[in-house]
């Protein structure tokens, strides 16, 4: 049962959860102005915290938030944005279609998106 595995991955998996919380303020180094950045927009009201995206991501870009959403689930968050390769596997696997990824120039201020 894949949903179940995803839960286990979130709780016992190596990595993503530990990195939660350190990501929000992360700034991309100004020395690479031409590189693209990939910003996950996760509809946290629709996310049910199943963690399928966390397990599908080949680069551990996503993790589980330490804040609950209005329904009480711990939604997915981008914890290592620099590692995103824009494969969109997370978007494909999300059963609730709650993830979109924006590809932006690295110097774009995305805080208002």
């Amino acid at each position: 049962m894949s949903t179940n595995k995803a839960h286990i991955c979130m709780k016992d998996g190596d990595g993503p959860k530990g990195a939660v919380g350190s990501s929000g303020e992360k700034h991309h180094p100004a020395s690479q102005p031409k590189k693209k950045r990939h910003i996950h927009r996760i509809d946290s009201e629709r996310c049910k915290g199943c963690g399928l995206c966390v397990s599908a991501c080949p680069n551990q870009v996503l993790g589980q938030s330490d804040h609950v959403n209005p329904k009480g689930y711990y939604p997915a968050v981008q914890v290592q944005p620099d590692k995103c390769i824009f494969c969109a596997l997370c978007c494909l696997i999300c059963p609730d279609v709650a993830i979109t990824i924006d590809e932006v120039a690295s110097d774009t201020d995305t805080r208002k998106t």
Binding site: M1, T3, G72, D96
Partner: protein, 370 residues
Amino acid sequence: MKGNEAIAEAAVRAGCLNYFAYPITPQSEIAEYLSWRLPEVGGVFLQAESEVAVGYMIFGAAAAGARVFTSSSSPGISLMSEAISYIAAAECPAVFVNMCRVGPGLGGILPSQADYFQSVKGGGHGDYRLLVLAPASVQEAVEMTMMAFPLAEKYRNPVMIMGDGLIGQMMEPVAFPEGLAQEPSNKDDWATNGMATRNSERRNLVKTLYLDAQEANQHNLKLKAKYDRMKQEDVLFEPYRLGGDYELLIVSYGTMSRVCRTTIDNLKEEGVEVGMIRPRTVFPFPEKAVFDAASKDSCKHVVSIEMSMGQLVEDVERSVRGIRPVTWYGKCGGEVPTPEEVSAFLKEMLSERSVLRTDLNGGLYGQDVS
């Protein structure tokens, strides 16, 4: 479709056009879906001020002869339990969907089966029972929802669909079998649907108060006869790998039974034969099926595997009637045991079985055999 949305659509297709509810995770999608779907088909969607109010709205609609259902999750069902007792006492058909979450108290929002006693043994006061259907997949949740309305009308009794957060949140392909939808039964004999509506001079009364002891006893005997009839006519279960010889018999239902199914397949590859009975109705419980399966010569041990702390195991022990040792295994709190964990437990138990067998009374709970 997502389990919750599939249940909502199944209810509409089953001809239920009245839904009153109060949102609670992990079943709020049923209300969200019906808030736009019911107006489309001329039905009534109403968000109540609380689950207590929902319970009595259901009572009112059912007493007036309408098909009606609601959904909630564990704490909400607790609040409705008073009304459920009244509805059962007044012999009104209604359907309750409980997407169980972690308890007790507010508990958590992850899947659990800890409302087994609440669903099967009562929850409200008095000698009443619910017919409780326990789906193990989204497809089965759809079918059970469609079956629930005719069953509620057949017995004039509330029917509960006992899922869990996982069934509600999981997405699976579903089909809506048209054959399961049935026309509402004629309720003119008892429902307060209006004398002009039924073109009758007789007044119908729906009540639960019986102050006369003899009359109250008669009423309870009538209810008991109904519950006994359920045990005769509507026991549903699914046997799994019971055809050949098996050393262990698992009894498990709902989400947990899916994990057990995988475990059984994995163990078979390793040469360990295990069978399973999956109750599809947990009341009436498939007592005879469990007893017969446990009676098989090859069967040495029965295990109840559940996402609760030893609730299903009581009905399993009751059904096995002491002819085989019965052990409990389970997890709670939203943790769903993995096939590997179940498999490890069963193997350890098999290696200790000789110890367990000599200690029928004291050693029923697995590891405490020392």
